[in-house]
């Protein structure tokens, strides 16, 4: 393996490292190869003396990891704690503002859903009220008609009208329900599109 091939291979294997760290390692091994060549080795022999690029890259990466895992000194920890406490008015308010922003967005979405479903829920409630009123009215009219015929006939009329309202409001609820399911699905898709678009932009 030539020096250029060796360094190229090492460069590729150390891609996870920072640029400066990588260049430091490459120049170090470049110098070692040069030293071997000055001592009378051929280029291939010098590269052989160092070892395979995979092995060397593995060692470098391992070393880098142990350096990163070095525990923080007590002084540093204390300094960070003091900075965190002193900076609380700043970062605390920012966190709170962010939380409020997220909460208001969630509530806004929730209120949009409530507004969308308000109309079919109202017609549904009218339908249920009509059903209850018609059943009670028609059943009660059978008793009341013997006590006060005029009131009984009126109540029977109220019961019939309530039955009509129940059917009409029920039909309206069904039609509006179907329509608002479509609107909700479309709205949810639009919302999901916005969120995924924002994520893609971030990436």
């Amino acid at each position: 393996m030539s020096k250029e091939e060796f360094l190229g291979s090492l460069n590729r294997l150390l891609k996870s490292l920072g640029k400066s760290e990588r260049e430091k390692s490459l120049s170090y091994y470049n110098e070692i190869i040069d030293d071997y060549m000055e001592d009378g080795y051929t280029e291939e022999e010098a590269v052989e003396q160092i070892g395979s690029p995979g092995q060397i890259a593995q060692e470098i990466l391992k070393e880098q990891q142990t350096q990163m895992k070095t525990p923080m000194s007590r002084g540093m920890k204390g300094l960070i704690a003091v900075l965190l406490v002193l900076g609380f008015p700043l970062w605390g308010s920012l966190v709170l503002a962010g939380f409020c922003l997220v909460l208001s967005a969630v509530l806004l979405v929730l209120s949009a859903y409530i507004v969308i479903w308000c109309i079919p829920i109202c017609t549904g409630a009218v339908s249920v009220a009509g059903l209850i009123l018609s059943v009670v009215s028609m059943g009660g009219a059978a008793v009341i008609i013997f006590q006060n015929s005029a009131a009984g006939v009126i109540q029977l009329g109220v019961g019939m009208s309530s039955a009509g309202i129940f059917i009409l409001a029920g039909l309206l609820t069904w039609i509006l329900g179907q329509y608002f399911v479509k609107v909700t699905v479309r709205f949810s898709k639009w919302l999901a599109g916005i969120i995924t678009g924002m994520r893609r932009k971030k990436l």
Binding site: S137, A151, I154, G164
Partner: protein
């Protein structure tokens, strides 16, 4: 059953019920000589009575007991 037919049938049925109901209410009201006192509830309030009329006006609803209503249209009694 086709949905369009069902819608049509529902509309016709509700219209029939509303018309018959209105006619019956009108007929009952005329039987009472258009006077609220003739259809006034007497004695204890009954939960199965849904039409009320007095000097204060008329309203429709279910009164479970005095002051407790299940549903009302057109106001409640004091």
């Amino acid at each position: 059953m086709k949905i369009r037919n069902l819608k049509k049938k529902c509309l016709i049925m509700s219209a029939v019920f509303l018309i018959i109901g209105s006619v019956l209410t009108g007929a009952g009201w005329s039987m009472a000589d258009f006077k609220a006192e003739n259809v006034k509830e007497e004695g204890k309030p009954k939960w199965y009575r849904t039409f009320y009329a007095d000097e204060q006006g008329a309203w429709i609803g279910i009164q479970v007991k005095k002051g407790v209503y299940l549903l009302t249209f057109g106001g409640t009694r004091e």
